[in-house]
């Protein structure tokens, strides 16, 4: 009897006291991207940012869709993203729930401001609700302009948003290197620099094809597709790679899934020397008709491999020079390698690594093998 009373008390207590958090799923708005634009200082009263959210129009989804616009856009002023999300309640009838936020759009002007980026990163990491693998993307226009284009884009069929779909698709291509909150923080701690993809619009299309370089939470420059591919190789982030070169007047293309990378410190005196060994084994994608017999000749094949190696090496060296001389940023994991595998050396150079990095000798050892040659000779 006592048990029953106890259970009844607990049940009735929960009944009468519960339900604070009750909010039906269709009574919430799930924004999937947010853009932050800095407003002029004169306008600071209403808030530092013009915050733009895009969210799916639930009424346009599913079988019983009664509306057509898939994506809605809401713009609001606020001092930070979270304030923006709650301020939105003056124009939307439902509260925002930031859990499914997938993309943060950062305009270039904001990206140049170190403190603001630090604030944003801190806010996102600290929040209990926000996903920690939220993606970052840099745009050269204002975020609001860009997001308006995105929402009107014809390819906006993906339920979770076109932009997110594009960024997620990074696996297949080597055009850009994806950046999430988690990787951003991790890179900042390990190398002091990270790459964030840059999106632009071209007509009605959205294109993500380059990366912005952030050093110490500040945008300092851009890298093109080729650089991205090379950095992807040097940091072992590439999963599937296509390389090509001109060989005897014809285009020679090779597809190499899962490249292998080895880093090694080979000289630790005055001038540090680090060797990056990259091993690529792949399948011929395209050559030219009628020269099939060349592929039976071992020397010829070796020569082809050499040409590919040379080409790739040249390209990578160019990227490394850019990183060392122009940008002075270590996005290729030199510091991390030293810290993990040569902690004693790292202790010595840790404090003035910025001065040392441009002078580190990076030795490339590329090894390409043509394993398979396709269905025909």
């Amino acid at each position: 009897m006592k048990k029953i009373i106890l259970i009844a008390v607990i049940l009735s207590l929960t009944f009468t006291t519960g339900c604070w958090d009750m909010k039906e799923i269709n009574e919430r708005i799930f924004p999937y991207s947010v853009g932050l634009d800095i407003v002029d200082k004169k306008d600071f009263k209403k808030g530092r940012y013009e915050i733009t959210f895009t969210y799916p129009n639930i009424n346009a989804l599913g079988k019983q869709a009664i509306q057509e616009d898939i994506v809605y856009l809401a713009s609001i002023r606020g001092n930070n993203m979270f304030e923006g999300a709650s301020n939105v309640s003056d124009r939307l009838q439902k509260p925002m729930f930031l859990r499914d936020l997938k993309v943060v759009v950062i305009p270039e002007s904001l990206a140049r401001d170190k403190n603001l980026i630090k604030e944003i990163i801190d806010g996102l990491s600290r929040d209990y609700i926000v996903n920690k693998v939220i993606n970052f993307v840099v745009v050269k226009t204002t975020a609001k302009d860009f997001m308006q284009t995105v929402s009107k884009s014809k390819k906006q069929t993906e339920i979770e948003g076109l932009l997110y779909g594009l960024l997620r698709n990074e696996q297949g291509s080597t055009k850009f290197i994806n950046s999430t909150l988690n990787s951003f923080v991790k890179d900042m701690y390990s190398c002091g620099a990270t790459l964030v993809p840059v999106a632009r619009r071209e007509g009605e299309d959205i294109i993500v094809d380059s990366n912005a370089v952030f050093k110490d939470y500040e945008l300092i420059g851009y890298l093109n597709q080729e650089d991205n591919r090379n950095i992807g190789l040097l940091t072992n982030k590439t999963k599937d790679l296509s390389i090509n070169t001109e060989y005897e007047g014809a285009d020679l293309a090779l597809r190499t899934p899962r490249p292998r990378l080895k880093k090694q410190l080979i000289k630790s005196e005055k001038n540090l020397k680090i060797r990056y060994s990259i091993e690529l084994r792949g399948q011929m994608e395209e050559y030219i008709l009628g020269r099939g017999d060349q592929l039976d000749n071992k020397e010829k094949v070796n020569d082809m491999e050499k040409t590919l190696e040379k080409d790739l090496k040249k390209s990578i060296e160019k990227t490394i020079e850019k990183l060392q001389k122009d940008l002075n940023t270590d996005t290729i994991g030199v510091a991390e390698h030293l810290y993990k595998f040569n902690p004693k050396i790292w202790e010595e150079i840790e404090d003035d690594f910025d001065d040392i990095f441009p002078h580190i000798d990076i030795d490339l050892d590329i090894n390409i093998t043509i394993r398979r040659r396709g269905l025909t000779k």
Partner: protein, 503 residues
């Protein structure tokens, strides 16, 4: 004061008529035999409970035919008539002497025939019990694909015979009890002496002796009188209609109670493990049986949780869902006017209603109700937009799952807890759900069935580490060379040690 049989037959008959004056089905046949000296006798039985043919042929008939009796003198009659009748006079198979009227009346009421002889202080009881009984047929509630098709019937003796036929074991004990101060119902306690744990047996006997009730109509009455926690919705005693499953459980060191008048035989102790087992598990190949057992455990989860999780997640934690699913869910609920909690309780109650009305109607109408109700109401509710389609799917799955649980009582209890969990999660989301799980779990863990944890064999008591051979999987028979440990059997071995035996 105990009244005994008096010498005067008329007095005896008068007494019986007095005691059973309201019984119009009482038949008293008075007759006299003997050439030299007429001996007055009378048979008494209840019409319908005793075989009339048997009484006329083997009691009265044989007395009339017996030559020796006819030549008795008064002297001989006074001294040895009783022995003579017993020796020569009656050709019935089962007879005994009775003196006590209390017993005699019970015997008459249970269908025996009593023979009174004038001048004798003892009456003779002739076993003539025969009453309308259903023939043995297939058990209605537990049908199997493979396995014996016999089921218990209402008659106690048939039932003990069905068990005995399967076990020619000298250790098989059948202890008889008469319980019910007025109904005097026969109850048989079956166990195998050298297997069952004596402590357990003592406990069962103690509880049987402690029963104080006027009548026991069905085995369920007995069940509710001897179980440990009568407040709990969980059955702590198993019931079955299958003699084979009773026989098998006797060999697991369990005990069975047969109640006269009930085709449902009680088997105890019942634990979660035994309630989730079906006797079919032992008649099918081990892989199939194991898969089915795992499926049944999953179905327990499916009864308890889907609706509660639906409520908790859609109302409190949409963040748990993958983004696409949460968009889909939001879109499907866009026109639903009720909160998810109301929606869930409404649909689950409708399902219970359908089930209840289905069981009240037998045969094709019952199934029609199920189909019509399930299909049409579900479809109409979704069309009308008052219920989300996902809710219908969830309710359907969880109600199908209830049929996968072999024990009806267990699935009923689980359904009750399902509602509690729905309410808990409707009030406090996942936290509430977990509190509900803790309360339910505590209740299940606190239950005992005659000193054996109800949560066995998952309670960790009486079972060795890693011994999952007969729990949520069923190992091949050759590996099951020990009896299940949770009943603490005296004799553990079933066959010679596994590995040696396998060759």
């Amino acid at each position: 004061m105990i009244k005994t049989v008096s010498k005067d037959i008329d007095e005896n008959l008068k007494y019986i008529k007095e005691v059973l004056k309201g019984s119009s089905d009482l038949v008293i046949r008075e007759f006299e035999i003997g050439d030299v000296f007429r001996i007055k006798m009378a048979t008494i039985y209840i019409d319908g409970l005793s075989s009339k043919e048997f009484v006329s042929q083997f009691a009265i008939g044989s007395l009339f035919k017996e030559e020796e009796l006819k030549s008795f003198t008064l002297e001989g009659y006074k001294t040895s008539i009783l022995d003579a009748i017993k020796k020569d006079g009656l050709s019935a198979a089962d007879i005994s002497e009775k003196e006590d009227f209390e017993e005699i009346i019970t015997d008459i009421l249970s269908g025996e025939t009593i023979l009174f002889i004038n001048h004798s202080t003892k009456a003779i009881k002739i076993a003539t019990k025969e009453f309308p009984a259903r023939g043995i047929d297939e058990p209605k509630t537990e049908s199997l694909v493979r396995g014996p098709r016999e089921g218990f019937v209402e008659s106690l003796r048939f039932n003990t015979a069905l068990v005995r036929r399967r076990i020619r074991d000298k250790g098989l004990n059948i202890e008889m009890y008469q319980i019910g101060k007025r109904s005097k119902t026969d109850i048989a306690l079956l166990f195998i002496e050298d297997i069952v744990d004596p402590k357990f047996l003592i406990e069962v006997r103690k509880r049987l002796d402690a029963i104080d009730i006027d009548a026991i109509i069905d085995s369920s009455t007995l069940e509710y009188l001897i179980e440990d926690n009568y407040l709990s919705p969980f059955p702590q005693i198993e019931n079955t209609e299958r003699p084979d499953s009773v026989s098998a459980s006797l060999y697991e060191g369990r005990v069975s109670l047969i109640v006269d008048g009930s085709p449902f035989v009680l088997v105890l102790p019942a634990t979660i493990g035994t309630l989730l087992n079906s006797s079919e598990d032992y008649y099918s190949r081990w892989i199939e049986a194991s898969a089915k057992r795992i499926l049944r455990l999953i179905s327990v989860v499916l009864i308890l949780f889907p609706s509660a999780l639906y409520v908790a997640i859609t109302v409190y934690h949409p963040s748990i869902l993958p983004t696409k699913l949460s968009y889909y869910l939001a879109a499907s609920r866009i026109n639903v006017p009720f909160p998810a909690l109301v929606e869930a309780i409404m649909m689950e109650s409708t399902m219970e209603l359908l089930r209840e009305s289905g069981t009240r109607l037998s045969g094709p109408i019952g199934t029609t109700i199920g189909i019509v109700g399930g299909l049409i109401i579900g479809q109409a509710a979704v069309e009308a937009g008052i219920v989300s389609p996902l809710m219908i799917i969830i309710v359907a799955i969880s109600s199908i799952a209830t049929f996968a649980v072999p024990s009806y009582e267990l699935s009923t209890a689980l359904r009750l807890f399902k509602f509690i969990l729905i309410v808990c999660s409707g009030v406090l989301g996942l936290f509430g759900l977990m509190l509900g799980v803790i309360l339910t779990g505590t209740h299940i863990l606190s239950l005992n069935s005659f000193g054996i944890p109800f949560s066995s064999p998952y309670s960790g008591l009486g079972i060795e580490e890693g011994d999952l051979k007969d729990t949520f999987v069923k190992a091949p028979l050759k590996r099951l060379w020990l009896r299940p440990g949770f009943t603490f059997p005296k004799n553990k071995k079933r066959m010679k040690e596994g590995k040696k035996h396998e060759k």
